[in-house]
């Protein structure tokens, strides 16, 4: 898969890299810059990571800092929390978001809560990376998009890099955050390539990014659905409809200003979310648009989400369950009272 997207603030690109390579470069940089940083998770060491993100890092940094863990998400996420409380800066990799549910107790009841329960005395400077999303025929136990659940939890910052530049640049500011940050890597993006910014330090973890400016409709996407949204915008342009594409980048806290500002101009919104529709992040965004931009809406907010089924294994069924560009195009045209 190839993605051609612009970086949020056009930094001079020095080279092209894959999303996977960008993540690895970010980990390497963090480990080099700060001795307190270490990586742990299932198969991150000798195997090089389930998705080959940490390939070669064991050889480079040794088993003290690239740590293979037992198959117990609760145990190693808990260990990460403890390490963070103890003054280290752990990066914990969880293989997929489905498996992270085993660690949900640690993430919600400890990582997100300790600062509050300690009366502000104990920060948890932990970063958890995990894979999310479908599209690779990994069936219903490895393919879901549950980041919206985590975006529900106060005390966490949730990031979803959709571009190579964000994959490269988001880790360091996440480590610098004194509180827990979860980074969701859509599995379909690892092989995508794009320009690598010369200065990754310019990347923020606060704001959404307008990936394509437009006037007639705002398409809001993130992670794996950004490419879908951009493809839809191309097709809409061919039909005379100018779509603005916003990449959320930060799922919590949501950048209301960018979202609402765009919809105030375009008067129409389509939200593309690989999660299930009911109770989803798309539902939250829709509610905020209605709360804050109601009198600027010229049509109901539209959503294109995954079918509410466990993600199928069969390729054609899996594709049918996922949001497709054609669905986004149809939704946008419908908002404008047109039928494509």
């Amino acid at each position: 898969m190839t993605m051609t997207v612009s970086s949020p603030a056009p930094a001079p690109a020095v080279e092209t890299a894959t999303y996977r390579e960008a993540l690895r470069a970010a980990i390497r940089e963090a480990m080099t810059r700060d001795d307190r940083v270490f990586l742990m998770g299932e198969d991150v060491g000798r195997y090089g990571g389930c998705f080959a993100v940490s390939m070669g890092l064991l050889e480079e940094f040794g088993p003290e800092r690239i740590r293979d863990t037992p198959l117990s998400e609760s145990a190693f996420v808990g260990a990460g929390i403890g390490a963070a409380l103890g003054g280290l800066r752990p990066i914990v990799e969880i293989m997929t978001v489905n498996f992270s549910l085993l660690a949900l107790d640690q993430i919600l009841n400890n990582a997100a809560t300790v600062l509050h329960m300690s009366g502000g005395q104990l920060n948890v400077p932990l970063v958890i990376r995990m894979t999310t999303g479908a599209g690779r025929q990994l069936a219903a136990q490895h393919s879901h998009s549950l980041e919206g659940w985590y975006a529900h939890i106060p005390g966490l910052r949730i990031l979803a890099p959709a571009t190579v530049a964000d994959a490269r640049g988001m880790l360091w500011p996440a480590l610098a955050d004194p509180d827990p940050v979860l980074i969701f890597e859509n599995g379909g993006l690892y092989n995508s390539s794009g320009p690598l910014p010369a200065d990754p330090a310019t990347i923020d973890i606060e704001r959404a990014a307008v990936r394509r400016p437009g006037d007639d409709v705002t398409i809001i996407a993130y992670g794996g659905t950004l490419a879908t949204a951009l493809t839809a915008a191309d097709q809409l342009a061919a039909q005379g409809m100018s779509a603005e594409v916003i990449d959320l980048r930060v799922l919590r806290p949501l950048d209301d200003e960018t979202l609402v500002g765009s919809v105030r101009r375009t008067h129409r919104a389509v939200i593309v979310d690989e999660g299930w529709r009911s109770g989803s992040l798309s539902a939250e965004i829709s509610a905020r648009l209605v709360e804050q931009a109601f009198y600027d809406l010229d049509a109901p907010v539209a959503r294109v989400c995954s079918a509410e089924v466990p993600m199928p294994y069969a390729r054609h069924l899996e594709q049918a369950a996922l949001p497709q560009a054609a669905d986004v195009v149809a939704a946008a045209l419908q908002l404008a009272g047109r039928h494509g």
């Binding site: 009198y295 809406l297 010229d298 419908q334």
Partner: protein, 434 residues
């Protein structure tokens, strides 16, 4: 009992101000009698009533601005009023009196039980092809009821929040607008030109009580909204044809020597007569574009653009213009122009035209390429009559006029427009027939 309602005096009228009552409670009124003077945003219009009866109550006082369709007065002793289409708008919801509904004969007890269970009034249920009420008809009626009421069912108008906000700030009545959004929803584009700059984030305050704006300003706004809509929605094509009018001018000169001064003719009457006749032969340009299709008009009702010296334009209509000769058109045109200028047009003179004619020849322009008045599909323009070199077998100087047509390419193609211009030219060569 009938209601006398605020009529729609033009496709773009949304509300009007009652200026003057010419009748009072207890006065008998007759069909066609002028009973009130209404100020649209364009002019003061004398409005006729469509019922026979006695005025019972005047419900709106002079100076009040009310939306199209609002009840102005009630008329006692009047039967069911059926306003002629086009000249007066019926509000979206007209409740049907129970007495007007035919009694239905229900044969099946099952149908009765179903109707009770679903809370359906059998008197309102449509029947099957055999004239009987079936179970499916009851279910259909229940389903209809469950659906949110659309505009024709009355009640709340379906409009987007942005459209509502724009309408409130522009003082536009949503009930008088047809929506172009999905499912007929009124969207911002239907209100008129939207705000170009993003509005402030503060929620809008309720619309201030409508103060009648200055005439010029509101007319300007009405023209702005209509013309912007035209250019936004209508793909115009333009054709130009310069025609020899020596025969017509000879005819005008000869007749003016014979006619009394008060019946004196101007060439414009012949141009108008030729246009009206030509439209009979080219009906593709005489009508409206409604709901994605062309609707031809049975008559040629020509809107004539009258420019006001104070600024702005007004477009009164000459109904069934093709039935009038040039000499019959002359007094009609003079009366119309005079009444338009002193702001006393009659309601019927502001009925929606089927085509518009604009003549800027008196201002000396060579030609005028008009902007179509939606939902019409064409506008014919006349420039000045001028002496030009012409080659017609012999080289000579002849009086010519440049005639243009701007037409809606959705409804017709260039060949149709060309046919109209050729037809007008041929008619102007035989003015004795006009």
């Amino acid at each position: 009992m009938a209601d006398f309602r605020m009529p729609s005096l033009g496709a773009d009228m949304e509300s009007g101000t009652l200026l003057e009552w010419l009748v009072g409670p207890g006065d008998p009124v007759h069909r066609g009698e002028v009973v009130a003077v209404i100020d649209t945003d364009k002019a003061a219009i004398e409005v006729e009533c469509f019922d026979e009866g006695v005025i019972q109550e005047l419900k709106v006082q002079p100076g009040e601005r009310v939306p199209v369709g609002a009840v102005l007065a009630s008329i006692d002793g009047a039967g069911a009023a059926v306003p002629p289409s086009g000249s007066a708008a019926v509000p979206p919801s007209v409740p049907v009196a129970p007495s007007m509904v035919e009694p239905v004969h229900v044969l099946s007890p099952l149908v009765r039980r179903e109707a009770v269970a679903l809370g359906v009034d059998l008197a309102e249920v449509g029947t099957g092809h055999d004239g009987l009420v079936h179970r499916v008809d009851v279910e259909h009626a229940a389903a209809q009821r469950a659906r949110p009421a659309g505009p024709p069912q009355g009640g709340r108008v379906r409009a987007s929040p942005l459209a509502r906000r724009l309408a409130a700030s522009a003082g536009v009545d949503l009930a008088a607008i047809s929506g172009s959004g999905a499912g007929g929803v009124i969207v911002a584009a239907d209100i008129g030109p939207g705000p170009s700059a993003p509005p402030p984030s503060a929620p809008p305050s309720p619309a201030p009580p409508a103060r009648a704006p200055e005439h010029g300003t509101s007319m300007r706004q009405a023209i702005a909204a209509l013309m912007a809509r035209s250019k936004r929605e209508i793909p115009h094509y333009y054709l130009t044809h310069t025609m020899d009018v020596s025969a017509t001018l000879d005819r005008v000169r000869r007749r003016n020597r014979e006619l009394p001064v008060e019946q004196r003719l101007v060439p414009a009457a012949f141009l108008l007569a030729a246009t009206a006749r030509a439209l009979e032969a080219v009906p593709e340009l005489n009508g409206t574009w409604v709901g994605g299709a062309f609707v031809p008009s049975a008559r040629v009702d020509i809107g004539v653009v009258v420019s006001l010296r104070s600024g702005g334009i007004i477009v009164p209509v000459i109904g069934d213009a093709a039935a009038l000769s040039a000499e019959q058109l002359m007094p009609v045109m003079r009366g119309l122009a005079a009444r338009a200028r002193n702001g006393r047009l009659r309601g019927t003179e502001l009925a929606p035209p089927s085509i518009t004619v604009t003549n800027l020849g008196d201002q000396g322009v060579d030609s005028v390429l008009g902007v179509i008045y939606p939902p019409q599909v064409a506008v014919v323009g006349f420039g000045a009559v001028a002496d030009r070199r012409a080659v017609d077998g012999l080289l000579g100087v002849r009086p010519v006029v440049t005639v243009t047509v701007a037409a809606d390419h959705r409804a017709s193609d260039g060949a149709i427009g060309a046919r109209l211009l050729n037809r007008i030219e041929r008619l102007l060569h035989e003015p004795q027939k006009l």
